[in-house]
């Protein structure tokens, strides 16, 4: 059976029921609208509105879900010995996310959060964290095209306050 999803720019996506169920948000909406896998009429007569997701982003979400629709459920996040959250991003996911420019990656993260697709959300969070980790502040600012509005005196004060914890 198929489910119809409608994006904010009125694009309709027809996806497999299993793919639709990967989103906790869509699952809840289907339940609220009495749409069930065994009731074709309910699926045909209804569509799920997703006002927070655009057509372009939805296409990427569905591509990710297609790849992961047969995955076994697993513990998505773990903590390392310092208590930091860690998540293993598979090679396919790395390649998949590499194709998005950073602005799109942020939109995809917003969509994964709204749709509650945990695996995709964790993949993106870990990918952005990896981009930041180990870099100096000016390198991070340049990478993300952020204009620094702190004065040198303010920066000096911030550094001074945490000097004790730096190697």
């Amino acid at each position: 059976p198929n489910v119809k999803l409608v994006t904010s720019d009125n694009e309709e996506f027809v996806v497999d029921f299993r793919i639709a169920k990967m989103s906790v948000t869509v699952s809840r909406l289907m339940e609220a609208m009495n749409m069930s896998e065994t009731d074709d009429a309910s699926l045909l007569s209804n569509s799920i509105p997703l006002p927070n997701v655009t057509k372009a982003v939805m296409a990427r979400v569905i591509e990710w879900c297609e790849k992961h629709k047969n995955d076994e459920p697993k513990e998505e996040k773990e903590n390392d010995k310092r208590g930091r959250t860690t998540h293993v991003v598979s090679d396919w996911d790395k390649e998949f996310l590499k194709n998005d420019e950073f602005g799109r990656l942020c939109q995809l993260m917003g969509a994964a959060n709204y749709l509650e697709i945990k695996g995709l959300f964790n993949d993106i969070s870990q990918t952005i964290a990896n981009m930041i980790h180990g870099k100096k502040s000016d390198e991070i600012a340049e990478m993300f095209n952020i204009h620094c509005d702190l004065t040198e005196a303010e920066k000096k004060e911030i550094r001074k306050k945490t000097a004790w914890c730096e190697d």
Binding site: L105, C106, I132, K136, K155, T162
Partner: protein, 349 residues
Amino acid sequence: MGDLTRQCMSPFEALPKELFWEILEYIPPESVLKLRLISRLFKSRISTYSIRTNYVPTILQLHLRSEKQDNKSNDSAFVVVIEISKDERRQFEERLLLSNPPTGLTEKKGLKGHTASGAYITSFNLQAEDKEDIEYLRSCLGEKIGSVLLTNCNDKGTLNAVTEFVDGIQFESLELSGNSMSSDAICHLFATVKSHNVHLLRISARQIPAPAETLLELASLVHSIQIYQAAKNRRKLHANEGEKSILLGLENFDWAPTFIGMLSRKLDTLYIRNLPYERYLSRESADDLIEHLPKLGKEIYFKSTCKQFDSALDCEQNGYSIHADASREVNSYLIIKSSSNLYIERVNY
């Protein structure tokens, strides 16, 4: 944040703060600190990140150790060692690093990492006069601590700083350790025990002022006292010194009336480990304890080093069990306890 403002921002800045915080979860605190140098928006978001949850740390132990070299110097340096469950390391580090620490705060090198039991420790150098540093660390600790350990805290300056440090914190166990304790330290001890409702008190020392009177008074305030006698020379006892009868600086003293008096008060558990002077408790004192403690009519647990019995003793009297090791055994003890096993579980040696 308005739509227009968001449009002028880079995509990373335009992320809702909840998603920004999600990314921070994957980054070690040191890298999070670097993000504060990027822009005012990031600095503000990271400050709110550190206080976004009502996280209350569970400090296992707070150890305050005076670094004062001698009684004459004015130096009032001390080290604060904070022991926390390893599961809370991340949250506690964030709280320490991101809550706007004072500029003078310095970490104690070499005293950071995991203990044998797997807990995480971190430590700081402080001066008793550094009110701002003390206040800051105090604010990171929360309201409840497993136990507080004070080492060599003898001078008024350090003791006042200790009072400030533990003010408003609940703890049931207090340990004092040092070679020779000053009368200021004992006054401070009474005040701390009273104001924090301490249940278990552990004293590791060579001598304290007016030992018998001090212990009697403390027995009215706490349920459990453990005494660990320190040797004059930690590495080696002088010839015949082991034969001497000393406890907390008091020589050739009949301790039986004091111990009976202590266990007649609020105190119900008394443990004395006196390995440097294993004969500190005379045979007459031991016999007095065996005769009188079972007549107290309350649940007690008494255990003390005692090397005065030629052969082992095991008997019951008045619902109390009495056991003495033969003196040839290493670490000989005299144990008198109510036959209920309640107190065996309560005393953690």
